[in-house]
């Protein structure tokens, strides 16, 4: 497994872990019209900080264990995998965010709820991005 494929796995698992933790604290139904409590933002900031911290720590550990692989620049196949995955993630983001805004507006969401919908769409799009990278690394195209 290449260094970048390992990083893709780490990022994918971290995103799913953090998103699951967030949902455990703030259920999706409550996100549509969340109360204007500061603790909601605190949970959000904590989840973002958790994600960044895991990425930094694991990234450092992986670079220490495989310094040569980490320094090797991306070759054409890795650049192509990244481009194709981002293209798919873009479509996921557009569909989820626009569809989610449409649905949540009709469900009576307030502006904070709409913000959560867009944020959720972004996170799911990133999950799709890294999932597709792993798929292309494993199965080819």
């Amino acid at each position: 497994m290449s260094f970048r494929e390992k990083r893709a796995w780490v990022t994918l698992i971290t995103l799913i872990f953090v998103l699951t933790l967030f949902w455990l604290h703030i259920p999706p139904t409550r996100m549509l019209a969340p109360p204007p409590d500061v603790w909601v933002l605190h949970v959000l900031m904590l989840m973002i900080a958790t994600f960044v911290a895991i990425q930094i720590i694991v990234g450092i550990v992986m670079r220490i264990r495989s310094p040569l692989d980490a320094r090797t620049p991306k070759d054409e196949r890795e650049r192509l995998i990244e481009l194709k995955s981002r293209a798919i993630a873009w479509y996921v983001f557009v569909i989820l965010s626009l569809g989610g805004i449409f649905v949540t507006l009709h469900a009576g969401a307030n502006e904070v709820g709409l913000g959560f919908v867009v944020l959720f769409s972004f996170v799911v799009a990133e999950i799709a991005n890294y999932a597709m990278r792993i798929y292309y690394y494993r199965r080819g195209f």
């Binding site: 497994m1 290449s2 070759d75 196949r77 890795e78 690394y137 199965r139």
Partner: protein, 82 residues
């Protein structure tokens, strides 16, 4: 999805050239070892530049290393043209 129609003889040519490893070939062609492995397994079609570089490493013309089987001639083996 996952298998390209372009066949190649890279694995055989590597062994014929002093049992060259995938890593050796990757360094000479300036790609990663995983990319060489993906090319050999038919999971990735290299660019023309990489294909020419690989051919030059083995001292063979491009058509001796890579081939595109006619429809109906494709088999299940990795090295269909060798």
């Amino acid at each position: 999805m996952g298998k390209t129609r372009i066949a190649n003889c890279i694995r055989r040519l590597r062994f014929e050239h002093n049992e060259m490893t995938q890593q050796d070939l990757a360094e000479r062609v300036n790609v990663t070892r995983q990319t060489i492995n993906a090319i050999e397994l038919g999971k990735y079609s290299p660019s023309l530049e990489v294909a020419f570089k690989v051919s030059r490493v083995f001292g063979k013309p491009l058509e001796a290393v890579f081939s595109w089987p006619e429809p109906g001639e494709e088999g299940e083996d990795e090295e269909r043209s060798c």
